[in-house]
């Protein structure tokens, strides 16, 4: 167990193709010792949840910059519940107006990372929330 790496699915739902953030985060989490699966672009909520199930991840990071979060995130959360995957930590990163944050958290999103968040803060957040998967704490 102590050797198990934290498994993270970085997903890019919606039509937007701006993937700099998703890719940088995927690489940063990997460099921090996590096992990262990047879905690629234009994934539907169904594809994301199915990938999360197959890959047995503990964390899903959704990157959304287009403003479609209010349509996409509730569907992902619903599908997770339907598949008894409530224990998966869901993070949202991207351009999310402050006024939408409470609603997303009510849906069950653990944290929203807005523009300017340091990669290290995201790494630390995941480590603090994902128990039992001890991994290589800070080298």
């Amino acid at each position: 167990m102590a050797d198990a790496k934290i498994r993270v699915l970085v997903a890019k739902p919606g039509l937007d193709g701006h993937d700099r953030g998703a890719k940088v985060i995927a690489r940063a989490l990997r460099d921090a010792g996590m096992e990262v699966i990047y879905t690629g672009l234009r994934q539907t909520p169904e594809m994301i949840v199915s990938a999360a199930l197959q890959e047995d991840v503990q964390v899903i990071g959704l990157s959304i910059l287009s403003g479609a979060h209010n349509a996409i995130v509730p569907r992902v959360m619903d599908l997770l519940r339907q598949n008894q995957m409530d224990d998966v930590l869901v993070l949202v990163g991207g351009i999310i107006p402050d006024q939408d944050i409470d609603n997303l958290k009510k849906q069950g999103v653990a944290a929203i990372f807005q523009p300017g968040t340091a990669m290290d803060d995201i790494v630390q957040f995941i480590r603090s929330k994902v128990r039992g998967a001890g991994v290589t704490f800070a080298g």
């Binding site: 039509l15 937007d16 193709g17 700099r20 890719k23 690489r27 403003g67 351009i95 402050d98 340091a118």
Partner: protein, 599 residues
């Protein structure tokens, strides 16, 4: 003059040895280094900007200075930093003459200012039409249309994939009806319009041409630009629909159609902007963009088009990022390289073909959400670099770029920033005012040779489409992007208000777009499908599919290739076929495309 160049060990032992690295300083410079520089360095060693780690230290542990792209910067530039055969005639020339280092117009901005073209579009065509009229009333010189993601991806507003995306990142356009509303009351023969549309570019352009025609405008007189640069979509922005080869064919169809019917319309804006936004260096932006240009010319020539016929309608679009001199060098090098490529590689005879005309937009990626008002200063500096680099048109980003689409106030300040540069700063009064700066000329030459190095690599891969298929530019950009992010987080690069000088602050006012637009657009589509002749739409789409499945070839005379898709798309548009229907017809012929993701 000729001092011998030093090796690494000698550099390490001698604090002023760097002035002999890869250059031969004059006796006077050497004397200055010994008598003035050396004692100063001893008393006050140089300190890097940012944390003294990583990219900010050289092998000897001394402060290292670089551009934002990581290019090393010397302490002082002198004639020793110019090539041995340097002459103003050879390397700079005169504006409006090769090698075009100093610009494409003999009078610079004296005869014609840069066009202030603010990119804008949100929510419904009705609301965007109001914003356009506002911008034109406030002194904006041209329009630039931002479409929403469903439009960019060729889906109608009522398609399931469009859920949550309608009107969010730009204006929602589904049919000719929406385009008529968008330009209602705007004279298309007098206003130049740029449209940021790529994979479905021919469809939106066809709609534009039909609206212009209905207004009574002459196609030979209208001018504007469609972005239509599919290569950078595969490289960076990722808004593609079809695989690369058929996508390129659609682009060449527009070149061929445009050169015959709309001689003043730019049928492409070959774009480095998005490549840079994806995290590339300045050099990568320059090299990949110009090589994309080479690839389009190669494909057009394969079609049988003459370079001097379509070449003058190729335009470019660059980013204006934070590093002031590096950006100016990039624009100056771009002009030189393009003229050289068109002349030497493609044998273009006409000077109009050699001229690189470009639009510039300030770097959205450089504008953080923290202390957003600081972005007004960033944008002003970036825009100034673009003007000193000789841009033909300019968009200034709004300070709230990282938060949402701009509010009306933010959009106005962005336009005013352009006006302050144009009318108050004085920089537009003389041509290429920085020409002859040792530093700038050195950077310009480095950019130029760096770009040709990349061209060599891309040539050896068999061209850009091949390079994209093996993920080469994507990998280069992802690596640069990560390196920058790492340096910023280690504070090796200072981002004011983000990793230094941060404060607690209140959230700002932003433009919030809800789902009303999606419902309105869906209702309009339903009414349209009930009202129009669906038989006529079907006939138009069937004819388009037939043309799209044939191989177009120009016979070199005045007619366009019989299989050119443009006339068929125009017919479908006239029958009020929607963006989604036309793109679906082409999807049936060409299929879709999924990239192999690289992280």
């Amino acid at each position: 003059m000729a001092e011998k160049k030093l090796g690494k060990q000698e550099v390490a032992d001698n604090p002023i040895a760097d002035i002999f690295e890869k250059r031969c300083p004059s006796a006077a410079e050497k004397k200055w280094a010994e008598e003035t520089l050396a004692p100063t360095l001893e008393k006050n060693p140089e300190r890097p900007i940012g944390a003294p780690t990583g990219v900010n230290l050289d092998e000897q542990g001394r402060a290292r200075f670089t551009t934002i792209s990581g290019v090393p910067i010397r302490r002082l530039y002198t004639p020793a930093d110019l090539p041995e055969d340097w002459s103003e005639e050879k390397y700079l020339g005169y504006p409006g003459r090769p090698p075009f280092t100093r610009g494409i117009h003999a009078t610079g901005y004296r005869g014609k200012l840069f066009t202030m073209r603010q990119f804008s579009g949100f929510a419904s065509p009705e609301e965007t039409n109001r914003r356009y009229k506002y911008l034109l009333e406030h002194g904006g010189g041209g329009l630039s249309v931002a479409f929403d993601l469903p439009t960019l991806m060729g889906y109608d507003s009522d398609h399931p994939a469009s859920e949550g995306e309608v009107g969010k990142c730009g204006v929602a356009i589904d049919s000719l009806e929406d385009m008529e509303i968008l330009f209602n009351g705007i004279d298309l023969e007098k206003t130049t319009v740029s449209m940021t549309i790529n994979s479905p570019a021919s469809v939106l352009w066809a709609m534009y041409l039909v609206v212009a025609e209905k207004q009574g405008a002459d196609w030979k007189q209208i001018s504007g630009t469609i972005q239509n640069d599919i290569l950078k979509e595969y490289i960076a922005q990722k808004e593609y629909i079809y695989p690369p080869a058929p996508s390129m064919r659609l682009v060449i169809d527009t070149f061929e159609f445009g050169s015959k019917f709309t001689p003043r319309f730019n049928t492409i804006s070959i774009s480095g902007y998005h490549i840079r936004e994806a995290g590339s260096t300045a050099l990568q932006e320059l090299a990949f963009t110009l090589y994309d240009g080479i690839e389009y010319v190669e494909w057009a020539r394969k079609r049988g088009l003459e370079v001097d016929e379509f070449g003058p309608r190729l335009s470019f679009f660059f980013n204006a990022h934070n590093d002031f001199f590096e950006e100016i060098a990039k624009y100056r090098a771009a002009r030189k390289i393009w003229a050289r490529v068109m002349k030497e590689r493609f044998g273009a005879q006409s000077q109009r073909t050699w001229l690189m005309r470009f639009h510039t937009q300030t770097a959205g990626v450089s504008l953080p959400a923290q202390q957003p008002m600081n972005n007004i200063a960033r944008v002003a500096l970036q825009a100034l670099a673009a003007v000193l680099g000789g841009t033909q048109s300019l968009h200034c980003d709004s300070y709230d770029e990282a938060l949402a689409l701009p509010t009306e106030e933010a959009a106005r300040i962005a336009l005013r920033t352009q006006q302050i540069i144009a009318y108050e700063s004085g920089v537009t009064q003389t041509v290429d005012p920085l020409g002859g700066s040792y530093f700038l000329e050195n950077l310009t030459l480095q950019m130029e040779s760096g770009a040709f190095d990349y061209f060599g690599k891309l040539d050896s891969m068999g061209g850009m489409v091949k390079a994209i298929e093996r993920g080469y530019p994507q990998k280069e950009i992802a690596e640069a992007s990560y390196q920058y992010q790492r340096a910023a987080e280690a504070k090796e690069k200072i981002v004011v208000g983000v990793n230094e000088f941060a404060i607690e602050e209140e959230p700002p006012q932003i433009l919030y777009i809800d789902e009303t637009v999606a419902r309105q657009q869906a209702a309009k589509l339903k009414a349209l499908r009930a009202r129009r002749s669906n038989d006529e739409v079907k006939r138009g789409l069937d004819a388009l599919k037939k043309a799209a499945s044939r191989e177009p070839q120009s016979d070199g005379n005045s007619a366009i290739s019989p299989a050119n898709t443009m006339p068929y798309i125009i017919d479908a548009v006239r029958a009020y076929a929607t963006v989604g229907e036309i793109c679906d017809a082409l999807r049936q012929v060409y299929g879709g495309y999924t990239e192999t993701s690289i992280t």
